[in-house]
């Protein structure tokens, strides 16, 4: 059995941008996750996602891992950025774009 924290660490380090969400990018199951996907799509960045609704261990585990009580959760280059409110604030202020540029993550917008 793989420890959930190891599994999460592998996931967040496996791609430049990782979103833990409810549902899938095509069919988000929650307004907050849907908003997070819209932001990533708008930025034109490649991302990996994990559906916590399909994995009860992950759903609990990611909250402890990030010390963050809600889903979605965004990671960039292995670092926790925040939930959908922070994503929205950072997107609107241009900080999210700056962060991606700073970390050398290719994106369109």
């Amino acid at each position: 059995m793989t420890d959930i924290n190891t599994r999460i660490a592998e996931k967040v380090n496996g791609s430049d941008v990782v979103l833990f969400m409810k549902g899938t990018p095509l069919f988000p199951q929650c307004g907050f996750s849907s908003r997070a996907i819209a932001i990533l799509e708008h930025l034109g960045v490649e991302y990996d996602s994990a559906d916590v609704l399909q994995d009860a261990e992950l759903r609990q585990g990611i909250k402890a891992f990030s010390d963050w009580p809600t889903i979605p959760q965004l990671y960039v280059k292995g670092e926790f950025v925040g939930g959908s409110d922070i994503m929205m604030e950072m997107f609107e202020s241009g900080e999210l774009h700056e962060l991606l540029a700073e970390k050398g993550v290719p994106h369109a917008a």
């Binding site: 009580p69 950025v81 409110d85 604030e89």
Partner: protein, 77 residues
């Protein structure tokens, strides 16, 4: 269980006594709120840490009892 806006404000102010807290009931259902919290305690901290402080003040209710709290944190101007 829905939570009262006053209770949310009270918990935040108990943890951050200087905080200016504005709660908006977004849907009028006592379940979807927006909160704007302004406190000196946030100064110099990344946003994630600021939000974590507010979540800590809510003592684990966030994500459970309190489904949706759209949070904005600020340092006093």
């Amino acid at each position: 269980m829905p939570m009262d806006a006053g209770a949310i404000e009270g918990m935040i102010r108990a943890a951050l006594p200087d905080a200016v807290v504005e709660i908006t009931d977004l849907a009028g259902d006592g379940d979807h709120y927006a909160a704007r919290v302004v406190s000196e305690a946030f100064r110099g901290l990344p946003r994630v840490r600021q939000h974590q402080m507010v979540y800590a003040a809510l003592g684990g209710r966030m994500g459970g009892e309190l489904h949706a709290l759209q949070l904005t944190t600020e340092v006093p101007a």
